[in-house]
């Protein structure tokens, strides 16, 4: 049991160090640049304590739960050798983790407001909520598709940079045709779809797959799933803006 506390204590020190820069930056701007007193010092300190404890637990649980499960699943699928189930799993993981992502829900709602303002849809609540949920499912579908494509790439050992370059070219071409209002949101949606729990899981899955297939290098073939997952939403959100 004491081992657990030693390990927790050690990662707690790490968490404090990870958070120190934010505290320094905020303190400097508040006290030196803006020259304002720090409001609600007690709340601030308890909040910081929560952040440190939370980060510590998260990192600790990551190595205990998320990484091993991703690895175990990857090995199991590789041993089973069923492409269909692996790809179905990849799609579900991408779709399922994205569709409920709070950051995506927020971005979709913003996008609906922009669309209504731009006159693309009616400025009623029902039209907006239809637009927002349509967008959400579109992005979730695109992330699912991205993970499927990424997994196929790992299996086949295709070089990543050609695929990403093709994706970029598609983004650039789409930019020329998409309504101007949607472009900023589309670009942002690439970054917000991958949540804190999805990233470690998907990374462990990719690395696990690459290390259990002969002839694949986990470093070259294992990484890259997140890159696909942040690229396809841009294309699909712009397409959505053009179709609706």
């Amino acid at each position: 049991m004491s081992n657990v506390f030693v390990a927790l204590g050690r990662s707690m020190v790490g968490s404090v160090r990870d958070l120190l820069p934010i505290v320094v930056v905020i303190a400097f701007f508040q006290l030196v640049v803006l020259q304002q007193p720090v409001p609600d010092l007690v709340g601030l300190l308890t909040g910081l304590l929560c952040v440190v404890a939370g980060l510590t637990f998260f990192i600790y649980g990551l190595e205990m739960g998320l990484f091993p499960i991703g690895q175990v699943l990857a090995h199991a699928f590789a041993r089973k050798g069923s492409l269909f189930w692996l790809l179905l799993f990849a799609f579900s993981l991408g779709f399922g983790t994205t569709v409920a992502e709070p950051a995506l829900i927020a971005v979709a709602a913003e996008a609906a407001t922009v669309a209504a303002e731009g006159g693309m849809i009616e400025a009623t609540d029902s039209a907006k909520s239809n637009y927002a949920s349509g967008l959400r499912y579109t992005v979730a579908f695109s992330v699912g598709l991205a993970i499927v494509v990424g997994v196929i790439r790992i299996l086949k050992g295709w070089p990543i940079h050609y695929m990403i370059a093709i994706g970029y070219i598609m983004v650039i071409i789409m930019t020329g045709f998409a309504p101007r209002e949607i472009i900023g949101i589309a670009y942002d949606s690439g970054g917000v779809t991958t949540s804190t729990i999805t990233v470690p899981l998907v990374t462990a899955l990719g690395v696990g797959l690459a290390s259990s297939i002969e002839g694949r290098n986990p470093m070259i073939d294992g990484f890259g799933l997140i890159a696909f997952a942040s690229l396809t939403p841009m294309i699909f959100v712009m397409a959505y803006g053009m179709v609706i």
Partner: protein
């Protein structure tokens, strides 16, 4: 008491976010793979730690960092602050008058990236997979620098009003060209680091900065120009991570040449 209810609400919503993941994993485990998970108890405890940790983390951010960070973003972008005591109210602002905004964008981008949990996860994995060749801190600092440069450039774009796609398209072209010169091993990781940088900590603060800036700079629309900072923050880490690998490789090659030269000298 209020904090406890808040913690409870956040804990519930975190559990709700994790539910689909757990359902998918265990559904496939039970129905398709049909093999017991090794160390099941440990893995489940790990999940509990992750969920509780994330909930505490979000609660702390909500209580401590976000209110003050968002307030700060508003104050820094306020035209009255930017004019300071030197300029009169009717004088038009030049883009260079917003220097504190750019500095803040740089500092907050770098410091929030260092604390980003998903980046820590990827750095740990990359260090493990590369057998220690890629340092956890080297990667995190490279990504942090990329986010910092990206966000400060993004705020400058909002102030000047140049179209976003010019920047993003030239960034992509740069990334594609750089790919051919970067060490092969780093490329996939560099592409990944674009997507992982922006999650829990960075997005809310950066969004507040973008919206604050777009709503106060004359001629900008908060709806159109307020977005796009995240895109900048996901683009530049790719460039800095590949750059980091290129520099490491160059230094290693130079050291090797130097050692070989010394060896030949000794032999002679």
């Amino acid at each position: 008491m209020e904090t406890l209810t808040q913690l409870f609400t956040i804990l519930l919503s975190t559990i709700k976010d994790v539910m689909p993941i757990i359902a998918i994993i265990f559904g496939f485990q039970l129905l398709v793979i049909r093999r017991p998970i090794p160390h099941l108890k440990r893995v489940l405890f790990g999940f509990v730690y992750v969920v509780v940790g994330l909930a505490l983390f979000l609660l702390g951010l909500d209580k401590a960092l976000f209110p003050i960070g968002e307030l700060m973003a508003q104050q820094l972008t306020d035209p009255d602050f930017i004019r300071g005591s030197v300029m009169s109210a009717d004088e038009a602002l030049h883009w260079s008058d917003y220097y504190w905004v750019y500095i803040f964008a740089f500092a907050i981008g770098a410091s929030t990236t260092i604390a980003e949990p998903s980046l820590i996860a990827v750095a740990i994995k990359a260090n493990e997979v590369s057998g220690g060749a890629i340092g956890v801190w080297g990667l995190r600092l490279a990504v942090a620098l990329g986010v910092a440069v990206g966000i400060s450039l993004g705020t400058w774009r909002i102030v000047t009003g140049y179209p976003i796609h010019w920047f993003i398209i030239s960034g992509y072209i740069f990334v594609v060209i750089q790919t051919f010169f970067a060490p092969k091993l780093i490329v996939p990781l560099a592409y990944d680091s674009g997507g992982v940088t922006t999650s829990t900590v960075t997005v809310p603060l950066v969004a507040a900065l973008g919206l604050g800036l777009a709503s106060t700079v004359p001629g900008r629309s908060a709806l159109i120009d307020g977005f796009g900072l995240i895109a900048f923050a996901s683009l530049f880490p790719m460039i800095t991570v590949m750059g980091y690998a290129q520099i490491t490789e160059m230094v290693a090659a130079r050291d090797k040449r130097k050692r070989e030269r010394e060896d030949t000298l000794i032999k002679e």
